[in-house]
C-alpha cells in the first residue's frame, strides 16, 4: 500500500521507537502535523522553537535516548540553530527535522525559505535533504544511527513540502549501509596494555574523566577502575556524575571555577588517564601550565579529539565503556601495590588541598547567599534530583554546591554556554524522567531568555522547579567587570525585571518569592509538594556575590584567585 511522505515519516519514527517529539508547526509542515494528529506519538508544543530543541536536548541528556524535534522552514528552522549548535558542542544525540519549501521553489527565495542545510553545516554531525519519498525510511534509520553512535551529535533532516505529499511504498531498510561511517568501538589491546603499564608505574597518577563517560554509560566501569587502582578521579564540568560525587576517590571538577584541589592536582601528575574528554580550554587553563610533566593516555571514541589540544602519548580510540571493560579484564595482570606509598602520599596531598580550600562562602551572612540556595536544594532533595542549569554564576554554583551521585543527573550547556538553555532542558528532562524531581538552577538574566516556556510546562503539567538566584545582574558579566574592568558595570544591570511571582501566576504556574534566609529550605520543601505544574521560586540573593575559585582567562590551572 502506498503512503504519503508524511505518513512514511511518522511510521518511520514509530519504528525507530520515538514516543516523544518537541515541535512547532508551520505552513510547510501541515501535512506532517495532519498525520501526527492520528498518531500515538506524544507531541509537545513549545512556545518557541529554541525552547523545543533545548527541551529535546535536555530529554536526550537525562534519558540517554535520541531527542527529536521539528521546526518549520525559514524562521522556524533558524530558531533551531542555537539548539543544534548547543547539542553539537556537548555531543548530544538529536534528530532535528526542518520543513522546507517545495522542491521546485528551492533556491527561488520563496516565502519562508532558508538554506538550513547550508546554515547548519558546521554544527551538525550530518545532514540530509530529502529528495523523494522513497528515501525517507533509509534517511531516518541512518540519521538515528549517526546521531546516537560513535561520538553522538545532532543530525538535521530537511523535508521539502511536496515530497511529504507524494506517495511511495513503505519499505523499512533491513540494514544500514554507510561505507564512510564506521566508528571504532573497541580499543586497541596493545595500547590499552601500554596505558595500564604506565598507570601501574605512575607515582602521581590521575584519571581525568569527561562527559564521554556519561554519554557511553561507563560510570560503573570508571568507578571500578578507580577503586581497583586507587587512582584519584577528577572530572570535567560535564563529567560530573561520571563517578559518584560523594566517592572517596572523587576529587571534584577542574577548570575556571572548579575546585582548588582538582586544579592544583592537575598541574602536578606524572600520568593522566583521560577518558571521554576533549580538553576544553575552560578546563585546562593555559595549556603549557596543564600537567607539564605528565605522560597522557587518552580514551576517546572521536579520534580527532585526541592530540587536538593536549599532546597525547597513548591514544586509544574507542567507546569509553567498551575500552574500560577491556582494561578491567586485564587489570589483575598488573601490580597495583607497586608504588603504593608514593600514591598514598599523592592522594593525601590532594585531600589536604581540598581540606585547605573547599568550595565555600560566608555562611554567617544574613543575606541569602546563592550558594546556600543550591546547598539547600541538595539537602532537601537528598542529592537525588536532576539539576539543569542556565549559564553563568548560577551554573557554576550548581556545579560547586550540589554533589551528583549519578550520571545524567547534571544537565548543563557546557561547550556553547547557552543562556536560556536550562529551563526548557528541565522540561525535557522531566518529561523523560517523570519520577525524578527536576530543578532548573537559574539566573534572572538567563531565565528571561526562554521564559515563555512556562506556558509549555503548564499546558503539559510538567512539574519542574525553577530556582532563580535573582541578583538583578548578569552576574558573571558583573563579576568580570568587578574583577578585571575596575567595577565599570557596563550593561550588566537588569534594573527592570518582572515580578516573577505575578508572572508565574499569570501563566497559571506557582510563583514564590523568598527574601529571607530562614525561608529558603521551607520554600524548596513546599515546591516539592506541587506535582502538576511548574514552580518558579524567586530567591533574592546577595547581589555582589562572586564565584570562587577562579582561573582568570589566560592563566594556568594552578594560578587560581581564591577571593
Amino acid at each position: 500500500m502506498k503512503m504519503t511522505g508524511a505518513e512514511i515519516l511518522v511510521e518511520s519514527l514509530r519504528k525507530q521507537g520515538v514516543d516523544l517529539i518537541f515541535g512547532y508547526p508551520g505552513g510547510v509542515l501541515l501535512g506532517i502535523y495532519d498525520t501526527l494528529f492520528d498518531s500515538d506519538i506524544k507531541h509537545i508544543l513549545p512556545r518557541h522553537e529554541q525552547g523545543g530543541i533545548h527541551a529535546a536536548d535536555g530529554y536526550a541528556r537525562a534519558t540517554g535516548k535520541v531527542g527529536v524535534c521539528f521546526g518549520t522552514s525559514g524562521p522556524g528552522a533558524t530558531n533551531l540553530v542555537t539548539g543544534i549548535c548547543n547539542a553539537h558542542m556537548d555531543s548530544v544525540p538529536l534528530v532535528v527535522f526542518t520543513g522546507q519549501v517545495a522542491s521546485n521553489l528551492i533556491g527561488g527565495d520563496a516565502f519562508q525559505e532558508a538554506d538550513i542545510i547550508g546554515i547548519t553545516r558546521p554544527i551538525v554531525k550530518h545532514s540530509y535533504l530529502i529528495n523523494n519519498p522513497e528515501e525517507i525510511t533509509t534517511v531516518i534509520r541512518e540519521a538515528f544511527y549517526i546521531a546516537a553512535s560513535g561520538r553522538p551529535g545532532p543530525v538535521v533532516i530537511d523535508l521539502p513540502k511536496d515530497i511529504m505529499a507524494q506517495k511511495a511504498e513503505f519499505k523499512w531498510p533491513s540494514k544500514i549501509e554507510l561505507p564512510g561511517y564506521n566508528p571504532t568501538v573497541k580499543g586497541h589491546l596493545g595500547q590499552i596494555k601500554k596505558m595500564l603499564r604506565m598507570l601501574e608505574g605512575a607515582k602521581k597518577p590521575v584519571i581525568y574523566m569527561g562527559g564521554g563517560v556519561i554519554l557511553s554509560g561507563a560510570s560503573e566501569e570508571m568507578t571500578k577502575l578507580s577503586e581497583l587502582t586507587g587512582v584519584p578521579v577528577i572530572s570535567s564540568f560535564l563529567g560530573q556524575g561520571g563517578i559518584p560525587g560523594t566517592h572517596e576517590n572523587y576529587i571534584g571538577w577542574l577548570g575556571m571555577h572548579g575546585n582548588y584541589a582538582s586544579n592544583m592536582a592537575m598541574a602536578e601528575p606524572d600520568f593522566i588517564l583521560a577518558v571521554g574528554t576533549r580538553f576544553s580550554d575552560r578546563s585546562t587553563g593555559r595549556l603549557d601550565g596543564f600537567a607539564p610533566n605528565a605522560k597522557v593516555a587518552h580514551i576517546d571514541v572521536d579520534p580527532s579529539s585526541i592530540s587536538k589540544n593536549v599532546r597525547i602519548d597513548v591514544p586509544i580510540v574507542g567507546d569509553c565503556k567498551v575500552v574500560l571493560n577491556q582494561a578491567l579484564s586485564e587489570i589483575d595482570k598488573y601490580s597495583w601495590d607497586k608504588n603504593l606509598k608514593a600514591r598514598k602520599d599523592w592522594m593525601e596531598k590532594i585531600k589536604a588541598w581540598d581540606k585547605k580550600q573547599p568550595f565555600g562562602y560566608d555562611r554567617e551572612s544574613t543575606l541569602i547567599k546563592p550558594q546556600y540556595v543550591v546547598e539547600s536544594i541538595y539537602k532537601v532533595t537528598k542529592g537525588e534530583a536532576i539539576i539543569c542549569t542556565e549559564v553563568g554564576q548560577n551554573q557554576m554554583w550548581a556545579g560547586q554546591f550540589y554533589k551528583y551521585k549519578n550520571p545524567r543527573q547534571f544537565v548543563s550547556s557546557g561547550g556553547l554556554g547557552t543562556m536560556g538553555y536550562g529551563f526548557p532542558a528541565a522540561i525535557g528532562a522531566k518529561l523523560g524522567c517523570p519520577d525524578k524531581e527536576v530543578f532548573d538552577i537559574a539566573g534572572d538574566g538567563s531565565f528571561m531568555m526562554n521564559i515563555q516556556e512556562i506556558c509549555t510546562a503548564v499546558q503539559y503539567n510538567v512539574a519542574v522547579k525553577v530556582a532563580i538566584l535573582n541578583n538583578k545582574y548578569l552576574g558573571m558579566i558583573r563579576q568580570w567587570q568587578n574583577m578585571f574592568f575596575n567595577n565599570r558595570y557596563s550593561q550588566c544591570c537588569l534594573d527592570c525585571q518582572p515580578d516573577f511571582v505575578k508572572l508565574a501566576e499569570s501563566f497559571n504556574a506557582v510563583g514564590m518569592r523568598i527574601d529571607r534566609k530562614e525561608d529558603v529550605e521551607g520554600a524548596i520543601r513546599e515546591s516539592l509538594k506541587i506535582k502538576d505544574k511548574p514552580v518558579i521560586m524567586d530567591f533574592t540573593v546577595d547581589r555582589e556575590e562572586n564565584v570562587f575559585p577562579m582561573i582568570p582567562a589566560g592563566a594556568a590551572i594552578n594560578e587560581m584567585l581564591l577571593k
Partner: protein, 165 residues
C-alpha cells in the same frame, strides 16, 4: 609544510561544501582543491593541497575522516607520488618573439592551443615546480592571463587510495 591529501568521497549532495566548510570553519588553508568522478560514478576523488605543521595536518586528516560521506583519506605527500597540475597561459607575442616562445614551449613539452597575430594560448601540465618555472620564463614576454587547475596526485606503485585506511 605543504601537504597533498587525497580524499575519496561519496558523490552526494553537498559533499564539496562539507569539506571546504571544514577547512574554512577551522581556519585551515586550502591551496588548491580539485575534484572529479572516479571509475565509479558514485565516488569522487578530491586532491587537496594544504599547508600546516604536523599537528594541523593530523587534525585535518582526522576531521576529514569524521565526515560521513568521506570513504578514505590519505596524505600522499608522505609517500612517493606523482603530482600534476595543468595551466593554460595566454602570452603576448610579437613577430620578433614568437619563434623564441615556440622554442620555450618545445623545451617544456608544452602545447600551443590557440594562436593570433599578437598572442598565444599555451597548455602545459606538470608538477608545481615546472609550472612556476614555465611562468617565469614567459613573464618577460607579457602574460595576459593564466588559469591553473589544482594539483591531482597518485601514489606510485600498485596500491590505490581506496586500499588505505
Amino acid at each position: 609544510m605543504r601537504h597533498t591529501i587525497s580524499v575519496l568521497v561519496e558523490n552526494k549532495f553537498g559533499v564539496l561544501s562539507r569539506i571546504s566548510g571544514l577547512f574554512s570553519g577551522r581556519g585551515y588553508n586550502i591551496e588548491s582543491l580539485s575534484v572529479n568522478k572516479t571509475m565509479d560514478v558514485n565516488i569522487s576523488t578530491m586532491t587537496i593541497v594544504t599547508t600546516g605543521d604536523a599537528d594541523v595536518i593530523e587534525q585535518i586528516i582526522k576531521q576529514l575522516r569524521k565526515l560521513v560521506n568521506v570513504l578514505r583519506v590519505r596524505d600522499v605527500s608522505e609517500m612517493e607520488h606523482i603530482e600534476r597540475e595543468m595551466m593554460l597561459v595566454k602570452v603576448r607575442t610579437e613577430k620578433s618573439t614568437r619563434s623564441e616562445i615556440f622554442n620555450v614551449v618545445g623545451t617544456f613539452r608544452a602545447k600551443t592551443v590557440d594562436i593570433t597575430n599578437n598572442s598565444l594560448v599555451i597548455e602545459i601540465t606538470g608538477d608545481r615546480g615546472k609550472i612556476l618555472a614555465f611562468l617565469k620564463v614567459l613573464e618577460p614576454y607579457g602574460i595576459i592571463e593564466v588559469v591553473r587547475t589544482g594539483a591531482i596526485a597518485l601514489s606510485r606503485g600498485s596500491k590505490a587510495t581506496s586500499d588505505f585506511k
